[in-house]
């Protein structure tokens, strides 16, 4: 249960992450189907209808994806990387296993409570109070392991990834505690402030956790997969926060105008860390692009980074009032959130798993062909999915503002885009099944062959141990 074998906790986090990718992935396909063919829901038996209702399934899908899949894949990667960039043993492998049990208890709680309608009703903050507390406990345990390993490091240089992990965990604990009002079981503020706090949290869930820890993971993977030192460590630090931009989700809302203007300014400033990362990325990739053709892990990393650049460009555009007026509330936004969560952060997580699983199970990946299928199905599927929603969203936004088309017509006009989204989602889902089957078969291979454990020297670069 609580093994002390190095790497065992990391491995477990990757396995459970993949499990929590498939479960909410199927929910996502159900949701996409319900939007395209809403009438198929009507004849279902009354006993199961509540649990498959769109409004209950959607938050279940979202929470399981971000906390079950993506966060656990991140933690698996962090636990794998920590000993390698500090040249020390993980602070406590046992603690990491406790963390794993509690984490999956939390996800099981989400899987049970949200379909039952036990929710706090605020986007990304739906978990009920006991689960909020469990989440805080999980992040505290993770922070203890990260900071503990940092304290016993043998490597004098602090690699930029290490700092990202250290800061991301503690800042996220603060963001979550405030954003979910964890000192109050109801979890909600009153009136306008409730929404302001909610969107402070929603945006900083991206900034402080998924982006900061994600860039830490990417800045480890990049030199590792290219066998080249990182172009600049100083630039890596510019992946700092823009914790002030949350209210750009609320342009033209009843929130104070000055707050909107302030967040617009800070959203524009967020261009700086984006450019810093992209410069770092392209300069490190220089002379190594050919490797992306051979190495599926690097290809996922590169594709994710390019999608990340699009996310940031969209993000800045969306934080202008003129553009927001057209796309806010439309399906464009759903496309944008899948771009961030699936096409960049999840792609980086795939790269992590393809690099690390062979080391952790001491077996090479079972099938190169399945990796190719995974890459192409997921990339093509998500591209269709997102482009369909972006086009559909622009049409919706335009139609709403013409004031001559009844709302229901703008709903009907979404059908072809919903169909394309469903097709794209099915393709991406098939890709994920290739991935999961491939990992499963890798662990089942009989002969354990030694795989060189990757090490990134703090100065960058790679090489075996």
């Amino acid at each position: 249960m609580l093994s002390t074998e190095p790497g065992s906790a990391s491995r477990r986090f990757f396995y459970s992450a993949i499990f929590w990718l498939i479960v909410p992935g199927m929910m996502g396909l159900i949701l996409a189907t319900l939007l395209y063919l809403p009438a198929i829901y009507d004849p279902l038996p009354l006993a199961i209808k509540p649990y498959l209702s769109f409004g209950r399934l959607r938050p279940t899908h979202v929470n399981l994806m971000i906390f079950g899949w993506l966060s656990q894949a991140y933690v698996g990667g962090i636990l794998f990387i920590l000993p390698r960039i500090t040249r020390a043993k993980l602070f406590s492998e046992r603690l990491a296993h406790v963390n794993w049990w509690l984490w999956n208890l939390m996800m099981l709680g989400v899987l049970i409570t949200l379909p039952l309608g036990l929710t706090q009703g605020r986007e990304y903050a739906e978990m009920i109070w006991p689960l909020d507390l469990l989440l805080i406990a999980n992040w505290v345990l993770l922070a203890v392991n990260i900071w503990g390993t940092f304290r016993r490091r043998e490597e004098p240089k602090v690699y930029v990834s290490l700092w990202s992990f250290m800061a991301a965990t503690i800042v996220f604990i603060g963001v979550y505690a405030v954003g979910n009002k964890v000192w109050d079981p109801s979890g909600a503020f009153t009136g306008m402030n409730d929404n302001i706090v909610n969107y402070f949290y929603v945006h900083n869930l991206f900034n402080s956790w998924f982006t900061t820890a994600g860039l830490g993971l990417a800045l480890y993977l990049l030199p590792k997969l290219t066998d080249k030192p990182l172009y600049s460590h100083r630039l890596g630090l510019w992946g700092l926060w823009s914790v002030w931009t949350g209210q750009h989700h609320q342009l033209y809302s009843p929130a104070p105008d000055w707050l909107e203007y302030l967040t617009i300014v800070f959203s524009i400033l967020a261009v700086v860390p984006t450019i810093a990362f992209m410069v770092n990325f392209f300069m490190t990739m220089r002379g190594r692009w050919y490797r992306a053709a051979e190495d599926v892990a690097l290809r996922f990393l590169v594709t994710g980074a390019l999608f990340w650049a699009i996310t940031c460009v969209q993000g800045v555009a969306q934080s202008f009032r003129t553009f927001s007026l057209y796309v806010h509330f439309t399906n464009w936004v759903i496309g944008h959130s899948h771009l961030a969560f699936v096409a960049d952060y999840s792609f980086w997580a795939f790269a992590l798993i393809y690099l690390m699983i062979p080391v952790l199970v001491r077996r090479p990946m079972y099938s190169r062909k399945l990796m190719e299928w995974h890459y192409w199905l997921t990339t093509a599927g998500m591209s269709i999915f997102m482009v369909a929603l972006w086009i559909g969203g622009l049409i919706q936004g335009q139609n709403w503002l013409t004031n001559s088309i009844p709302f229901i017509e703008t709903v009907r006009s979404m059908a072809p885009y919903f169909a394309l989204r469903l097709i794209g989602g099915l393709m991406a889902g098939a890709g994920v099944l290739c991935f999961a089957y491939n990992v499963w078969q890798t662990t089942r291979q009989p002969t354990a062959v030694p795989v060189l454990s990757p090490v990134v020297a703090p100065g960058g670069g790679g090489g075996g141990e």
Partner: protein, 165 residues
Amino acid sequence: MKLQQNIVYLTGGSIISLLLGIIITIIIPAQDPAALGPSPLARPYTEQELWGREIYKREGCQYCHTQQVRAPEANLGMIHKKGDIGPESAPGDYYYQSPVFWGTNRQGPDLAHVASREGIGDNPAWHQLHFKNPRATTPGSVMPSFDYLSAAELEALTAYMLTLK
């Protein structure tokens, strides 16, 4: 020691940045006088209406319906007829609400002023029928049917809808 090696500065800086973020984007806006009192549209809820809000939250209505009208679309945006989206939302409209259901997505129309839509949103019988069979009242709707709710629940939800004037 180089900046990128000094973990105290880096972590301290991030925590200060977080605290400033909390002060500037949460604590100061909370003092906004416009949100400190109810608007003419806001009134305290009855017990049944509060239950209706709970059902609205439990069934996740807020994922497909917003409750905020932005200035450029106010009195102009169209649900059934021109302008029936209603007036721009004011901070005081939400004075008695916890949580608020501003929402981020409109698979269905905005509901901030649904009870002001004549013959439809202001009609309890229409709401009941629409909850049970959305495609009967609104062909082409993608809303799930809520025929699994009890009669009392449907009444409470309807009572809440009628507060959205």
